[in-house]
């Protein structure tokens, strides 16, 4: 007969055992007083591997990168007070992009909560606006269940970060209680939608079949919802043009002929013009962000809009839609595919031919062309070479700025979860720790971090973590000696008054990389870029910092400036070489 033996464990052991039972592979953390019991429990096992970062922000971004690359939740452990507040930027970053994470923070002992005790901050209060949910554990017998709930909430529905704040007395090694990790939990007030409403789905399919100038506008929800296959089948069944948001890149193969590029502020001319002229938009797991819509009252003036999203609050938030479908994008697309296959109508062949012809004319503008004759290194050229050297199959993380946009525009992602960047919060400092998280998840894959000389300095200390845990990544520093994205806005909107958008002192990155135990290379001529990239990726077991000195005057094009519509894009002026350009 099977007798269930209930084990007695301390709170600290319960937490570690719960993570193990949840299948957690890595936790990214940093110790301190409030979590010492926990660290002692971690020390006494090796199923859950702890990655010691150099700053708690790094822990959150590394866990986030791991989550984005794998689809599994990222796990973070920080101490109370400053450890907790250092984690907040990374928590907010994950929140804005709907990334599943569980953040365990230590708290001062329950009896002294509220007394301004040493290293006390109200973590539950501070993180409330930037988490999906948070918990303060008040009873050790509820700890395992709370951890289970945290993972459940973080990973289901619209994913997001969940904080579990644990007072030190809860993890006391001397207080032991029976442990059992629940297989399943339910929360009566939380029931995320799965299938779309049948009537709404049918209405949407009828509209799709009647459309003359349709556009599929898909976003991060397709990546989060593992629905790339369904999106691809759906799009190819219809033969309609498809554009992706910054967060959706890779969900549909960028090298496919139906793909018309990214849309929005730095999207392609063809994608934005198609949106503007369209008579039917179907938004799939995308949230009509202001970087996508431009000026709202000029957004898609002729189109009816269908919107599939798991979060009802994303629907009709900024743009009023005609057909709302709440559900998992994977399920809803499957429902649609079935209906389309059985539909008596077929897509409007004639109208569609004319539409593709029109799109062909917009494509002919070649909005992403750049000066290939320049004696200076063009950042776009570097990304093209990176794409070639990695055969389009690398995981690419990025920081925030011009380099991020160039990576998005010139690296053609054919698979989901390969493009890893902070879109919603736009957090400089994200790229390097995120790359470490990705490399831990996929040790055999090529992992590149495309960054800028300003962004990289925000979490540069994680170079040390990369050495300790042997995560050989390639850092592609597009060094334009400017906060290029800020400088570009100042050039366009502030008559080139470059207020504090450059630094008079920039470190010697080659030496810095070497000081951290890595390989550093500086590249100054276009003809050296390819060889340097090849050499860097050939060094399989080394982290390489490529400091690439690029044309500092280069701007990101196309661009929709603030207050403009999709049809009103600023394009590159293609006369002469832009190296003639002097910055005022």
């Amino acid at each position: 007969m099977f007798i269930e033996v209930s084990v007695e464990l301390s709170g600290a052991q319960i937490l570690v055992q719960s993570l193990k039972d949840e299948g957690v592979e890595y936790i990214f953390g940093y110790p301190g007083g409030a979590v010492l019991h926990l660290y002692d429990a971690i020390f006494q096992q090796d199923a859950v591997k702890h990655i010691l970062v150099r700053h708690e922000q790094g822990a959150t971004h590394a866990a986030d990168g791991y989550a984005r690359a794998t689809g599994k939740p990222g796990v973070v452990l920080v101490t109370s007070g400053p450890g907790a507040t250092n984690a907040v930027t990374g928590i907010a970053t994950a929140y804005m992009d709907s990334i599943p994470m569980v953040i365990i923070s230590g708290q001062v002992p329950s009896p002294v909560i509220g007394s301004d005790a040493f290293q006390e901050v109200d973590m539950v209060g501070i993180t409330r606006p930037c988490v999906k949910h948070n918990f303060l554990v008040k009873d050790v017998t509820k700890l395992a269940e709370t951890v289970k709930k945290a993972f459940y909430v973080a990973t289901t529905g619209r994913p997001g970060p969940v904080v579990v704040d644990i007072p030190k007395d809860i993890t006391d090694p001397n207080i032991k209680v029976p442990y059992k990790y629940p297989k399943k939990v339910t929360i009566r007030s939380y029931n995320p939608a799965v299938n779309g409403d049948k009537e709404q789905v049918k209405k949407a399919v009828d509209l799709l079949m009647a459309a003359h100038k349709p556009v599929i506008y898909s976003g991060g929800g397709v990546v989060l919802g593992e629905a790339s296959k369904e999106l691809t089948e759906f799009s190819q069944l219809l033969g309609y043009p498809i554009t992706n948001t910054l967060m959706g890149l890779g969900a549909y193969p960028a090298t496919d002929k139906q793909f018309i590029g990214m849309l929005g502020m730095h999207g392609t001319y063809e994608a934005n013009m198609a949106m503007h002229e369209s008579d039917l938009i179907i938004a799939v797991g995308a949230r009509f962000d202001d970087r996508v819509t431009g000026k709202l009252d000029m957004f898609c003036p002729y189109a009816k809009i269908i919107h599939i999203d798991i979060d009802p609050a994303s629907i009709s938030k900024t743009v009023k839609v005609d057909v709302a479908i709440v559900g998992e994008v994977k399920n809803v697309l499957e429902q649609m595919i079935t209906l389309i296959k059985d539909h008596k109508a077929k897509p409007q062949k004639k109208a569609l031919e004319a539409w593709w012809q029109q799109i062909g004319q917009w494509r002919a503008v070649e909005c992403l062309e750049f000066d290939r004759e320049s004696p200076l290194i063009k950042p776009q050229f570097v990304i093209e070479q990176l794409y070639a050297v990695t055969k389009g199959d690398a995981y690419v993380t990025s920081d925030v700025g011009q380099h991020q946009m160039w990576a998005a525009q010139y690296y053609k992602f054919d698979k989901p979860r390969r493009w890893i960047n902070s879109g919603g919060l736009g957090t400089m400092g994200f790229g390097l720790p995120a790359a470490i998280g990705v490399k831990l998840a996929f040790p055999d894959a090529d992992v590149a971090c495309v960054t800028g000389e300003a962004s990289i300095q925000m979490c540069i200390q994680e170079l040390s973590t990369a050495l300790q845990y042997k995560t050989p990544i390639k850092i592609i520093n597009l060094n334009n000696r400017y906060m290029g994205m800020v400088r570009q806005w100042q050039e366009f909107s502030y008559e080139s008054r470059y207020s504090h958008s450059y630094m008079d002192t920039i470190p010697e990155f080659v030496k810095l990389a070497e000081a951290y135990g890595h390989v550093g290379m500086r590249v100054e001529r276009p003809e050296d870029v390819r060889a340097a990239l090849e050499e860097a990726f050939a060094l399989k077991d080394r982290t390489v910092f490529l400091d690439i000195i690029t044309d500092r005057t280069e701007n990101v094009y196309p661009m929709i400036e603030a207050g403009k519509g999709h049809h009103d894009m600023k394009l590159r002026v293609a006369t002469g070489t832009s190296t003639d350009r002097e910055l005022a």
Binding site: V124, P129, L136, R188, S189, P312, A313, I315, S316, K320
Partner: protein
């Protein structure tokens, strides 16, 4: 437009601040809010009065529903419901005004709860407009304090807000 939203919410510490925080973070109006326990000790009932365009109120309702602690809610604007608010008013009294104030209170079905040589405390219950009307009817210079609970609401008949 004014909306009364009635919410069943987990009776957990922090639940109230999630609602209050949502309103301030997203810049929604909040005219009044009250919360107390229900017959089920694990649940609190909150009544919240807000106003905004239809689009804003739709977002408010979706955002409230999205909070994990919110179990269920109802927007009374689209329902027949009964609305009650409790008010206590402290007024200055003199020998000349006492009768007049008492009869005014009677018209509004108010009750005098406390009497001193120079003050009355009057309780009035009813829909918010009735309380507004009572306050407007008393001579303004005699009002010492006004305390209002904010409205609470319940729907008529069998339909309603329960698990």
């Amino acid at each position: 437009m004014r909306h009364i939203i009635s919410i069943l919410i987990e009776n957990e510490s922090g639940a109230l601040s999630r609602v209050a925080g949502l309103f301030s973070a997203r810049g929604y109006n909040i005219e009044s809010l009250n919360v107390a326990i229900t017959e089920d000790p694990s649940l609190s009932r909150m009544t919240l009065v807000t106003s905004g365009s239809e689009q804003v109120v739709e977002q408010i309702i979706k955002q409230l529903n999205k909070l994990i602690d919110v179990v269920k809610l109802i927007d009374f604007a689209e329902n027949t419901h009964i609305e009650r608010e409790l008010m206590m008013v402290k007024v200055k009294t003199t020998d000349h005004t006492r009768n007049e104030i008492r009869s005014l209170a009677e018209i509004f079905r108010g009750k005098v709860l406390d009497v001193t040589a120079s003050t009355y405390v009057i309780e009035v219950t009813g829909p918010s407009e009735k309380l507004d009307a009572f306050v407007a009817a008393i001579a303004q210079e005699t009002i010492l304090e006004v305390v209002r609970s904010g409205p609470t609401g319940i729907s008529r008949g069998e339909k309603g807000l329960s698990l």
